[in-house]
């Protein structure tokens, strides 16, 4: 089992196998640190 990290503002735990990727708009997508993105932060 992998380590779990707290998610900002939620108290939830996410494992380090949870990866968020976003469009860098320069032709490729790249990883973003998961705890920096809440479910609704994009909205």
């Amino acid at each position: 089992m992998t380590a779990a990290a707290p998610v900002a503002g939620s108290g939830e735990k996410l494992h380090d196998t949870y990866t968020v990727m976003t469009d860098a708009a320069d032709g490729h997508w790249e990883r973003t640190r998961a705890p920096d993105l809440g479910d609704y932060q994009l909205l």
Binding site: M1, T2, E12, K13, L14, H15, T17, Y18, T19, V20, M21, T22, D23, A25, G27, H28, W29, T32, A34, L37, D39, Y40, L42, L43
Partner: protein
């Protein structure tokens, strides 16, 4: 982030060409309009991706499929290929093999994979569980026949977009419950994960904030659900609301892609998050500035094209991380 300007222009063209909402049309008219729109979005100079072979057949007794065989070689292919059981979108109602032919050709080429696209029975003529039963039967057939198709049974991917993403998620749950077949990756683009539409009760949720004006509307989504799931009691079943399944542990690694301007954004993002909380390896592709359907908007938006490529890249990365198959003795 702002709506991608190329997608904004696409939405304006679409609204002008098809001013009547889908849910106000007879089903056959909605289907023909959806197909015409899918083909028109590819443009007059569209040339399908050339593959070694594309053939239609019936499998598992009664399920029509279209099988895409990639050209020999391809990126990173040294042995048996991955194999994809693909479920098309279209709200379980209006999509078909032709509306997603380009998507399947793309996936076959990008993943160097055999793709088995499933022509499951559609609602409202065939309500739940027809679609998931057909897809599940085809998934089992695909696993059993992967080697015959020149593919690696250990590299089986369940892939779908929108309602097809919902079927992929549901089939992964069925495989877990049944103890097989082994699924290497489940990959869902802007999926339905909760047919109860429970997120719609949150005034800040995408079902409310993105309810209309970005292609798929919340009203059309409710119509699709009514067509496929006329019995309200069925909507909370694991087949239809994976998001509400209490224990998601032990599911296959997942790729979940969402679009920011989509009523389904939040249930896709929440499903990715819940899978991650359960210890399932997850790649969430957070599609800022995109709208529902970006897998089929690559000819109209460079951002959509990048997202489609990223979706395939994330699936490839999961497949590449799988343990190598035992050599044949």
């Amino acid at each position: 982030m702002p709506l991608d300007p190329e997608l904004r222009a696409m939405l304006e063209r679409t609204a002008a060409a098809a001013p009547v909402p889908m849910h106000e049309l007879p089903v056959d008219v909605a289907r023909s309009g959806y197909k015409a729109g899918a083909l028109a979005s590819l443009g007059p100079d569209y040339q399908p991706v050339a593959l070694a072979r594309v053939s239609d057949r019936v499998v598992a007794g009664s399920v029509p499929v279209r099988i895409y065989q990639p050209e020999a070689g391809g990126p990173g292919v040294a042995g048996p290929r991955p194999i994809v059981a693909f479920a098309h979108g279209g709200g379980w109602v209006i999509g078909d093999l032709d509306t997603h032919d380009d998507t399947c050709r793309f996936l076959s080429q990008a993943l160097s994979a055999v793709v088995v696209a499933v022509d499951y029975r559609r609602a409202p003529e065939h309500p739940y569980p027809a679609a998931i039963d057909d897809y599940w039967a085809a998934v089992q057939w695909t696993a059993q026949n992967a080697a015959t198709l020149g593919a690696d049974p250990g590299a089986l991917a369940l892939v779908g977009d929108s309602a097809g993403g919902h079927l992929a998620a549901a089939a992964a749950l069925r495989a877990r419950a049944a103890g097989g077949p082994a699924i290497a990756v489940q990959a869902m683009a802007y999926p339905v994960t909760d047919a109860t539409m429970s997120t719609a009760t949150d005034p800040h949720a995408s079902y409310v904030t993105r309810s209309d004006g970005f292609g798929l509307s919340a009203t059309s989504m409710a119509w699709f659900i009514n067509c496929y799931l006329p019995q309200a009691a069925d909507r909370a079943l694991p087949d239809n609301a994976p998001l509400l399944v209490e224990d998601l542990s032990g599911l296959p690694p997942a790729v979940v892609a969402t679009a920011e301007y989509d009523p389904l954004h939040d249930e896709g993002a929440r499903y990715a998050r819940r899978l991650g909380q359960a210890g399932v390896p997850v790649t969430w592709l957070a599609g800022g500035g995109l709208v529902h359907g970006f897998m089929r908007q690559h000819r109209e938006s460079r951002a959509a094209a990048r997202a489609r490529q990223a979706f395939a890249g994330a699936i490839s990365a999961v497949l590449a991380a799988q343990p190598a198959p035992e050599p044949a003795s």
